[in-house]
Symmetry: C2
Subunit: 454 residues, 2 copies
């Protein structure tokens, strides 16, 4: 067998593509099938249509199921269009139910139904159950291929059973113990099982202290739990405690990445549009609502400034500091937002408490405001000689603005989270816009008030 | 045994704290030690100094080592100050080497040396080795407690050995096969071992296709690898292929979270300051350099606008649209940045190629610019009746600005990444500032040029 790394990867890939082109089925199977399914998928997506079809001929549906699971949705759809129906249904029958459900969630309903009805009954039922759970819940990401054992089984019997069932289960390292009504009563790790005396019954080695989640638990909660306890999997139960599936750590890693992408999308108002595998047109379509909506907020700001036309006519240079006030308010607000979004995601809140964190942010805002005000009092009259009053207006405005900006940046995401509203409203650009308007109102109000003393 | 969940947690915690206060050692040990170490740590940090000292009396150093590993650095430092030295050294001897190294990396050098010299030689050597690797590399996050076996071992012998060594190893689910010179030659999963015939030798069941990393591989690369292949661990080798440690999936989850926090810090210029466990003063100290630096960029913008004082005096209302131009430029640029940062982090680039992605972003920018320009041509004259020319100036400016803003948002982070510069320069606020200045230059230049036709 070969070991694929950055040095031999290209050479090995070329060899596989070469023998495939030559139509050397045996050589292709030998080289291709000894690769990790992830590498198989990487090579498969590089093939043209004709060669892809040849792969369907050369490898069995059972073998191809592993490749299919490693493909992106768009590539999976292409396979579904290209390959023979009978072949496809065997592929689906050999996939993990959660991977089939993920794919069916992305295709049209009638297509999904067609695939489901052609699959084996038992497998199709698992998939249907997974599809019935809401997106981003434990139920939607769990797998049905887990091993459950009885508390009176002996260690040696369980190990014997693993010999048969092991290859089909998604993990054999945690074995969940269920009673006769399928209720979860304990967990045994394979480590404990191996260390135990072969004649020992499961009841004496299992831990009854099982941390479980329900099928409608948010996937982010499941990820936090698995990460907190360093688990390899977590059991999913119904409200009555009946074991229905497990969530494994590899799915949790994907959840962590997805949630981070979502957080960044929220901070930057690019939610749902950070995918690079879409066209310019699709990207523009997804992002433009945000940009246009935010532009309308810009119109409000324009209206606010318009109200102060007289003040502006008296000191045209006030306009020069609009960007500085806006950017400083936006930047401090976004910093606070970042702190809060990460705290919510990693759960560091639960330790320190909300009030503490908000007080902390307000304190930070006051200090940032003071520092910036001091700097501006000195610098502005240097850049625009003689403009002492302008420096004073800018400095006082920045102090008030930054103090308020941190609070808004800190409170809004938490409030949104508490009220269970769509957190997108708490995104960076919205907070920035609110802070802009407040900052400019403060700035022009102070300027207008002080104008009479000029 | 009990199962801790949100319903019984408070009650159970109160019980433990109660028996501890009463000085009932047996009752405390019974309740406390049956908890998961993570839960033990959660309860321990809620105790006052006097009660913490009582815990050191009641539980053995070996038992406390598991609690200590679950504490935050600040709390670990407190324990080191409170507890008896002999007790502490036993705690360190019973911890995983990587957890000791993590802690020692956070204390003063002389303190670290004192602890190292008092530890058992073998354990101390492991810790010293881990400390010698650079931060954020595979070497720094790997564990030394792994099980390596020989290719001629029989399956049943290996399982027999696991019975003894299993409890001390960080994972028993992947067994790495090393030759007589300690070079990594294969890997066997415990699953394969159990499914195999007990008399079979390791060589016949192991996979020689081992994906490994070297000790100086970046931790983000290790995380990507483990996530890509759904591994539970990855072996770490020297440049000569000698097996020196393993990185486990639970450490990778922490890496994924840390890297996401870092990404968000960069996008929001709050790098290194998103921690909630610091005081207002520390937070202000860490964040103010960013805010002040960005404020100086604001001064440049102020200077740019100052150059157009005459134009502004002719049409004061130009000032009203400064925020709209700036925000739109900033928002589109940040969206592109977010796409790029996530693509770099998740590795989706490698599939599509850089040129493709940048072309995509530019196309998106042109479309966004066209849409926004069309909206503004209609809306501006409605808000400010008769200001057709103002609408035209704003619309043309927004079209040019957005087209350029997406390119800057997309190219800068990639260039920074390629040039191996500090990616913080590519942070959201910097890109926003560059886009602001460009946008306003475009806006006022167009306005000045068209002024003569008014």
């Amino acid at each position: 067998m070969v070991r694929l790394n950055k040095h031999n990867r290209a050479q090995y890939e070329n060899h596989i593509i070469e023998v495939l082109k030559q139509g050397d089925k045996d050589a292709f199977r030998e080289s291709f099938l000894e690769l990790h399914p992830t590498d198989q998928a990487d090579i498969f997506v590089k093939l043209e249509g004709k060669m892809r079809k040849r792969v369907y001929e050369y490898v069995t549906p059972e073998e191809f199921a592993e490749v299919f699971q490693g493909l992106e949705v768009e590539e999976q759809k292409q396979t579904v269009q290209e390959a023979d129906k009978k072949y496809l249904y065997e592929v689906f029958n050999n996939m993990y139910a959660d991977d089939v459900a993920d794919f069916l969630g992305e295709v049209q309903e009638n297509k999904a139904l067609e695939i489901l009805t052609s699959m084996d009954q038992e497998e199709a039922d698992d998939v249907k159950e997974l599809l019935s759970y809401e997106d981003e819940t434990a139920g939607a990401i769990m797998t049905k291929e887990f091993i459950s054992i009885a508390s009176m089984d002996r260690a040696s019997d369980v190990i014997q059973r693993l010999r048969q069932e092991g290859p089909d289960a998604e993990t054999v390292y945690y074995l969940y113990v269920a009673d006769e009504r399928n209720k979860l009563v304990g967990v045994v790790s394979l480590r404990d099982l191996i260390v135990a005396d072969p004649g020992e019954i499961v009841e004496n080695i299992m831990s009854t202290r099982v941390v479980s989640v329900t099928a409608n638990t948010d996937q982010e909660e499941v990820a936090k739990l698995i990460r907190k306890y360093d688990f390899l999997a977590a059991p999913v139960v119904t409200n009555d405690g009946v074991l229905v599936g497990i969530v494994t750590v590899d799915d949790v890693m994907d959840v962590l990445e997805d949630e981070a992408t979502e957080d960044i999308g929220e901070i930057t108002a690019a939610k749902g549009a950070t995918d690079v595998n879409i066209s310019s047109f699709t990207a523009a379509k997804r992002r433009s609502p945000w940009i246009i909506l935010l532009m309308f907020f810009g119109m409000i700001t324009a209206g606010v400034i318009g109200q102060f036309e007289e003040t502006l006519e008296s000191i045209v240079l006030l306009a020069a500091f609009i960007p500085l006030i806006m950017d400083s308010a936006g930047n401090t607000g976004t910093q606070s937002l970042a702190v809060m979004v990460r705290s919510l995601a990693t759960g560091s809140f639960e330790k320190k408490g909300l009030a503490h964190t908000i007080k902390r942010e307000f304190g930070t805002g006051l200090m940032l405001g003071l520092i910036c005000a001091a700097v501006l009092m000195v610098i502005v009259p240097i850049i625009y000689p003689g403009q002492l009053m302008l420096g004073f207006i800018v400095a006082v405005s920045i102090f008030l603005t930054l103090s308020i900006a941190t609070i808004i940046g800190a409170v809004v995401p938490v409030a949104i989270n508490k009220l269970k509203l769509d957190p997108a409203i708490a995104s960076g650009p919205f907070i920035t816009t609110v802070n802009d308007i407040l900052g400019l109102l403060i700035y022009f109000s102070i300027a207008t008030a002080l104008l009479q003393y000029l």
